[in-house]
Structure formats: structure tokens, C-alpha cells
């Protein structure tokens, strides 16, 4: 757009360039606000019929089923508030679990319970971590939908009281600001400023309290474009892919550190998921 002005040069080049920039920016800005408004309307229309509820119902069923070689349900699984307690646990995760000797998020804790309580092999427990249509439904995503739905409306309350948790938070913060990969990208490249977007998707500024709260409390979510419910592990996995980083291992310390960092920064806000997103 600015190329002809540059080539012609002349005294008024600066002025002309500025004018061109203004002209170029105006319709874009206009289009952006309208599109964002329209997307907000679209979300509101979808809100009362959030298909995430279908995952919640299925997840509750799986949670209560006797499964694995030991044929026990997950109702003895301790997600942080005692065996079998589901209400409010997600608002306090990730946290340090003494029995496992590590900080865990919901997904890694569920994997732990599936192997320890139900006697599944690690491979079996990890069979379908992300759903892919009718033939490849994910039990994990369904259970995540169920457990997180039981924290809806409760304030985020992630603790750093244990030294392991404080260490993981520090690590997560470091990862958030770390730049690397073929694009010299980091989380902060997209999530460090206000009003950034990818195509029409607004990107939350995760360095502000408000941005972090709004983003973290609306995951997991039903992605209309994918027809799937996506967990927070998926969100991070896909962010890593978009940054062209090495594949983020599901339930790894790296994924948990980043989750803990973001969850802790959302403290105080009411948890409002499973949500619905484009």
C-alpha cells in the first residue's frame, strides 16, 4: 500500500505516507469492531445451547463407571479435596499431591488415578486424549468437562503455599516469557499486548490480571469450528504447535508449570467453564 509513495519520494513523502496509513487503517478498524460485535452476538446465541453439556453428561457417567483391570470407578480418586470430591476441585488446581510427589493439573491427576486406582497401563489411559469425531470420542475430555463443570461459579483459588508449587509457578512464568523455535516466538509474543488478534480471534493479554482471569476461567470450551470439547491441556498443546515449538507432552511438568502460572494469575475470578468458543 505504501510502496508507490516510497518510490516517488519528494518532500511530502512523510505526510503522504501518514495519510495513506490512516486511510488504510480506518476501514480495518471499523471492520474489526463490527466483526467482534457480531461474534459476541453469535456467542450469546450459542450460549443457552452449549453442546459442552453433552460432554459433561458423558463424563459423569465415565467417572462413575467401574473400569480398568481392577474394575473400580474413579469415585475414590482424590482430586485435591479428598477421595471422590468433585465439587470445587478445579478452582484449586494445579496443586502439589504428596502421594504422587509432584504438582499436578486435572488431566495429569486423572491419568494418575486411572493407572493407580483402576490399574490401567499408561498407554491405555492415554489412548484418546483429544477427541476426533464420533468414532474417536475422548473419555478424558468428557471427564474434564464433568469435573470442571462442578466448579462453575466458584472463585479461582490456586495456592502457592507448598514450595513445589512456588517452584512450578516460577518455571511457568519463565516459560511464558521464553522465546524460541523457528519463529523466535513465545507465549508473550501473542499474549503480551492488548487488542491483538489472529484473523478475527481476539487474543487475551495474559500479562494483565483481567486478561488472565477472562482467558483461564473460560477453558475448557466447546469449539464450534471443531465440534469438540477442548481441555486446557489441548489449549496449550495447540499454542505450542502454533508457535512451532517441540510437541508439548500431555501431562508433562512443562504443561503443568504453564497451567499453574496461568491459573494462579486468574485467582479471584469466578470460574465459568465449560464455555463455548467459535
Amino acid at each position: 500500500m505504501g510502496a508507490p509513495a516510497t518510490r516517488r519520494g519528494g518532500r511530502s513523502r512523510g505526510t503522504r505516507m501518514a495519510l495513506l496509513c490512516l486511510l488504510a487503517a480506518a476501514p480495518v478498524l471499523f471492520a474489526q469492531t463490527t466483526a467482534v460485535d457480531e461474534i459476541a452476538k453469535y456467542r450469546a446465541a450459542l450460549l443457552e445451547g452449549n453442546p459442552a453439556e453433552l460432554w459433561e453428561v458423558r463424563g459423569e457417567d465415565i467417572w462413575k463407571q467401574k473400569r480398568g483391570p481392577k474394575q473400580v470407578s474413579l469415585q475414590q480418586c482424590d482430586l485435591g479435596l479428598g477421595p471422590g470430591v468433585v465439587k470445587g476441585v478445579y478452582a484449586r488446581l494445579p496443586k502439589y499431591f504428596a502421594d504422587a510427589g509432584r504438582v499436578m493439573d486435572l488431566e495429569s491427576r486423572l491419568l494418575w488415578c486411572m493407572t493407580q486406582l483402576q490399574g490401567m497401563s499408561d498407554t491405555d489411559a492415554r489412548k484418546q486424549l483429544f477427541g476426533g469425531g464420533n468414532d474417536r470420542k475422548s473419555d478424558m475430555e468428557a471427564m474434564v468437562a464433568y469435573v470442571t463443570s462442578e466448579s462453575r461459579g466458584l472463585p479461582m483459588n490456586v495456592s502457592l503455599a507448598d514450595p513445589h508449587e512456588a517452584e512450578m509457578y516460577r518455571l511457568g512464568e519463565k516459560m511464558f516469557y521464553f522465546r524460541g523455535g523457528p519463529h523466535d516466538f513465545g507465549c508473550v509474543t501473542c499474549h503480551g499486548d492488548d487488542a491483538k488478534r489472529i484473523r478475527l480471534q481476539d487474543l487475551p493479554n495474559l500479562t494483565t490480571k483481567e486478561g488472565a482471569q477472562k482467558a483461564y476461567t473460560t477453558w475448557p470450551a466447546y469449539r464450534v469450528s471443531q465440534g469438540e470439547l477442548r481441555s486446557f491441556q489441548w489449549r496449550l498443546y495447540d499454542c505450542f504447535r502454533q508457535q512451532r515449538f517441540p510437541e508439548l507432552v500431555y501431562g508433562s511438568d512443562a504443561s503443568i508449570a504453564l497451567t499453574l502460572y496461568l491459573a494462579r494469575n486468574a485467582n479471584g475470578a469466578a470460574f465459568d467453564a465449560p464455555a463455548i468458543k467459535r
Binding site: L46, G49, P51, E53, G133, N134
Partner: protein
């Protein structure tokens, strides 16, 4: 077998408002898989809602309806404690029927 529906029914004034979420792929028949083969159409073809055995809504659907469809409608009448039953049949002959008590 298909997953259960999620149904809510509430009395609003002199009518009943029903909201239904159905779990279905709703394949259009226009998409192709990774091998380039057409994915056969698979969608809910008929939906029926009954209240105390009386049909209050009958619909014929096609492949243009979204995946995991949401249906909301009102009908005159209905009281707390009455039963509303929703049934669908898809083009493969799969069926699902669920019911809810009006709240």
C-alpha cells in the same frame, strides 16, 4: 447407540418452553475424508415432541442442521410435573427417545 439428549422444559406463562440438545454428527454428505472419499450423509431426519402423548411438534430435518443440534420451542399448555418426550430418527434408522418432567 446414540448418546442421551439433554432436555429442559419450563412453564413460562400459559405455555411451556422446551430446550433440547441432541448429540449427533449431522454429516452433510458434502465432505471428503483424508483419502478424498465422500463421507456419506448421516443426519437426523425426523424429530417429534409429545406432551402427555399428544404431538406438539413434528419436524423434518435435513443435512443443513448443525452438529450437536440445539432445538428450542414453545407450546401452549403444559403444567409442572407433566412429561415431555422427544424422539428423533436419523437417515440410518438410528433412534433416540428421551423425556423430561416439566419444571
Amino acid at each position: 447407540m446414540a448418546d442421551p439428549m439433554k432436555i429442559r422444559a419450563n412453564v413460562v406463562g400459559d405455555s411451556t418452553e422446551v430446550k433440547v440438545l441432541m448429540s449427533h454428527e449431522m454429516e452433510t454428505g458434502q465432505r471428503k475424508d483424508a483419502q478424498g472419499k465422500v463421507i456419506p450423509a448421516w443426519f437426523i431426519q425426523s424429530v417429534t415432541a409429545t406432551w402427555n402423548g399428544k404431538t406438539v411438534l413434528a419436524a423434518q430435518w435435513g443435512p443443513a442442521v448443525s452438529k450437536n443440534p440445539f432445538l428450542s420451542f414453545k407450546f401452549k399448555g403444559g403444567a409442572k410435573g407433566d412429561k415431555v418426550q422427544i424422539a428423533w430418527v436419523d437417515n440410518r434408522g438410528d433412534k433416540r427417545t428421551d423425556e423430561v418432567i416439566i419444571a
